[in-house]
Amino acid sequence: MRWVVVLLIVAAGLLAFGWRRRIPLAWCLLTRQPGRLLVALAGIGFAGMLMFLQLGFRDALFDASITIHRLFNADVVIVSSTSSSSISMEPFPKRRLFQAASWPEVESIAPVRWGQLVWKNPETGSPRGILTVGFDPDDDILSLEGLGEQKKGLQLDKRVLFDRLSRPEFGPVEDWFNAGRTVTAEVGNTQVQVDNLVELGTSFGADGNLLTSDRTFNQLQDSADGSSTSIELGLIRLVPGADPKTVATTIKNALPNDVQVFTKQEFLDFEQNYWRSSTNIGFIFTLGAVIGLVVGAVVVYQILFSDVVDHLPEYATLKAMGYSFTNLVMVILQESLLLAGFGYIPAFLAGKWIYRFTRLATNLPIGMSREMAWFVFAMIFIMCIISGLLAIGKLRDADPAEIF
């Protein structure tokens, strides 16, 4: 962020120098043609909006991918060595978790089932994958307000807690539940009853979420007695004062290679890195932002270039009067800075509106962070400066000898 501040100080210096000591030529050149100025601001605003949109979606993807992960009450997490992300969790032997429990630093363990099951919309019957997390209701695995009471209902078989932030395609579950109706739906060919509603949130990998007991989870996966020797996640709580990194390394070295052992932060990074590195999604959104940058740069360049062409005789006159090439370059750069500053305002407002609209429509954790606001401002700033520098080339055509 330091370089952004440096750029801003330089920009402020340029503007202050231009405005305090001399006629505000850059300002006058821009505002004399309001139509052209509006086109420029619209172009910059659109480019900025595109950057906000793409970068916001990208960050939302990364944030949403760890919505549930963040809630786990765990210091160390065990997953299968073949698991690469939450959308491809593979089972591993439950006994690995029990082996880990023998370490003196381990305070408690909690086995967790995790997988995409097929939910049928109770109203229309249309099937859709839903992320289902199964755990022992006696275990306190999630830091979720109210879950302590709600999960008691999971002691009964075939009861589930439905995420009320799930996509509407899963049916009017929340409305029915709040209306006092008994909501049942088919999950994995088995009828389940919604015992309560929780609030988790969707992600690119999960349109909806269900919490249930491990026993019900196993039943939904065709285990008649609800037992299973496999789990997808092993959560470990450590005694106070134990170093998760050291313990995770120790357990990892001791257990066979069929599991991976992470600290909680490593587990969050493991999930986010999948979306960043192993899919094209991060690249696509970044490319979208770059395209926004290029579009904006072309618009600003066109505006500044035509401005220089239109005023070539005047610029030549200024040179003839004794103004240096650097003086004129400063005018163009001041115009660039003014465009960046004023063009950012509509971009920011549009970005905020789009984030709000997207959050309401998709429940994705998308919002205007300070870092994002500064980053896009810096990008617009750089975009305008580059366009200004390109337009400066045309200034060389302002030959004072030609005006006589």
Partner: protein
């Protein structure tokens, strides 16, 4: 008894053996031939001649707008033969220029246009420069128009603003290239009369290129130019 001889004034422009070419290799064409010229303080010199004879080229060389290729061109004490850009810029800041077209910045008011000339004076504050500019507009009879854009002024008024802009920096030398060419007869006359008054008031030397026979009386000397050579010079 000794008598004190008056010291002749140092010429503002001193040209000796000036040659200039345009083009390269086979296309190279000589446009100025062995010119000699001096211009003293307070003098108004008119330069006339047919189109393409080299008047404007001479003006641009004196105005440090082109690089002098051959010969000595000393302007305001600076030698311009193969002078660096910085020297040329320094010389330009010490002189005023008036063009055929006024070349005012369309986005600036009359006062702001004049102040663009005053802004090159580093020893004055912004407020002082602004006041100088408005005062100068008053001298050319446009005090009440200082807040108007060029589009709201007539051609003659714009040329007056251009004169104010050229003079606001108190230059010792003024170069003018057919300042009446774009004006009607009456307005042209008014402009040259104004120019005459202003340069007398500000003790400024003028080199003016003109085709207009009606304004020859404003000059002290008339130089005729033909095919890149100064042919005749006469006192007016």
């Amino acid at each position: 008894m000794n008598t004190v001889q008056p010291v002749p004034p140092q010429p503002l422009v001193n040209i000796a053996g000036l040659n200039h070419w345009f083009g390269r290799r086979d296309q190279r064409r000589q446009v100025l031939h062995n010119l000699h010229l001096t211009l003293n303080p307070g003098e108004i010199v008119l330069l006339s001649g047919p189109s393409g004879c080299g008047k404007t080229t001479l003006l641009t060389l004196i105005g440090a707008l082109r690089t002098v290729q051959d010969g000595s061109v000393e302007v305001l004490g600076e030698q311009l033969l193969k002078a660096r850009k910085l020297v040329q810029q320094r010389v330009r800041r010490q002189m005023g220029m008036i063009f055929q077209k006024h070349n005012l910045l369309r986005c600036l008011t009359a006062a702001q246009n004049v102040q663009m000339g005053a802004d090159l004076l580093s020893n004055l504050s912004f407020g002082q420069r602004r006041q100088h500019s408005i005062d100068m507009l008053g001298e050319v009879g446009l005090k009440d128009h200082y807040g108007k854009l060029p589009s709201a002024l007539s051609g003659g008024q714009c040329q007056r603003v251009a004169i104010a802009r050229a003079l606001v920096g108190k230059p010792r030398l003024l170069l003018a290239d057919e300042p009446t060419a774009a004006l009607d007869r009456r307005t042209g006359r008014e402009v040259v009369d104004l120019l005459r008054r202003m340069v007398t008031h500000h003790h400024c030397a003028v080199l003016m290129v003109t085709h207009d026979p009606r304004i020859l009386d404003v000059g002290d000397r008339l130089l005729q130019m033909e095919d890149g050579r100064l042919t005749t010079a006469q006192e007016i």
